[in-house]
Symmetry: C2
Subunit: 227 residues, 2 copies
């Protein structure tokens, strides 16, 4: 029997739903009973990860630990957190529960097949060097956008969270990707779940989406023998 999956969500809410949707579609199933049992706590009021990392705002760690503990108490046997930037607080969360919390960044870095990769993520994730640290032990170099490109990515993430139509935003994301290519990237890592909602197949470079990597890892872990 598969493990019950807990989802630490709300960062943002649409990205959490996209994770659940991809998880359902990726599960081999012909009837309800073939799917995973999933518990979700989608709390959109978790303190801003960006504010905490970039400007010393209130840490989201206490609330993230509370949510993780709540999901464990409710019966979750493995946790997934579909927010790349929140992984800056993963160690604190791991200390708060006895169940495994999947590491979206490590799962993604393990699937990178090209070097170097261009990173599309929040400024906070770039500054905290989350992907650089996940990729370095594997000998993969990470190319981040130039300052004006990163500003544009930050704007795009906010626009996705605000529910703006994705069409025009996609075009703008494409231009950041093109600059990453000119700067040497041979593939892209989609390292922000709002960019996962935005990115499409029209990209000039092959892309590895961290949200898909987390879906795969969740399925693998939930269906593994160890309970």
């Amino acid at each position: 029997m598969a493990k019950r999956v807990g989802v630490v969500g709300g960062m943002g809410p649409a990205a959490t739903v996209e994770f659940l949707s991809r998880l359902v579609r990726a599960t081999p199933a012909t009837r309800d009973q073939d799917h995973l049992h999933v518990l979700m706590d989608s709390d959109p009021a978790i303190p801003s990860r960006a504010e905490a990392i970039l400007r010393g705002g209130p840490s989201p760690a206490p609330r993230l630990c509370e949510i993780a503990r709540g999901l464990e108490r409710a019966g979750a046997q493995v946790l997934a957190m579909p927010c790349n930037t929140a992984h800056a607080f993963l160690e604190a969360m791991r200390a708060a529960v006895t169940i495994r919390i999947l590491d979206m960044l490590d799962e993604t870095a393990a699937r990178v097949a090209t070097d170097p990769v261009g990173l599309l993520s929040t400024e906070a994730a770039v500054r905290a060097e989350l992907y650089q640290r996940a990729c370095a032990p594997r000998g993969i170099r990470v190319i981040v956008p130039r300052p004006e490109g990163q500003v544009e990515v930050t704007r795009l993430i906010a626009a996705v969270k605000a529910g703006e139509p994705l069409g025009a935003l996609r075009h703008r994301l494409g231009r950041v990707a093109e600059q990453l290519e000119r700067d040497g990237a041979r593939a892209l890592v989609i390292g922000c779940t709002e960019i996962s909602l935005l990115h499409d197949e029209g990209s000039p470079l092959p892309a590895l989406d961290a949200l898909d990597c987390l879906v795969e890892a969740t399925l693998r872990e939930a269906r593994s023998e160890e309970r």
Copy 2:
């Protein structure tokens, strides 16, 4: 501050995700913090509602009550259950918790503006007369599919749960709707969340989707003053 919403899910998992997705899209929000706090328990192993109602199989009521209690314990302040047929067990669930459980069928019946309406729902919902009883006090007659039409709807629901491509299925659903129109229906009630996934704007009759009615009711209730 809005109430925390608990979602009794997994019936089926894709319909639960569709509910969450519509709820996010229907919420007026420009940033994460404007969204609702949502707790979900999506348990696809809840005993079959259809088996219990049609063939005396094990009742899902005990498990539904457990899930409702678990969500209340986890902090939910109002519950929504995006599965029409499961509402046959609503009274038992209401006795199990102190918080309000929204009635998807009543919310839908309250929004029906045309008489009579054609019903697209599970055979179990038809036999248990769930919509007939929700509509009767409002003077609205419910027209159900002919036996062969209902068999077709049952097949379509199973096909959606099996993840079959929706294109061809939509055409088949259209034919059931056309027969309902010939039988006198002047509008449709989409009274099964798998049909909500399937139904599109190409229908010959105006349609009221119970899933949308539940989304509206959830937003209204979560943002109401009473806590």
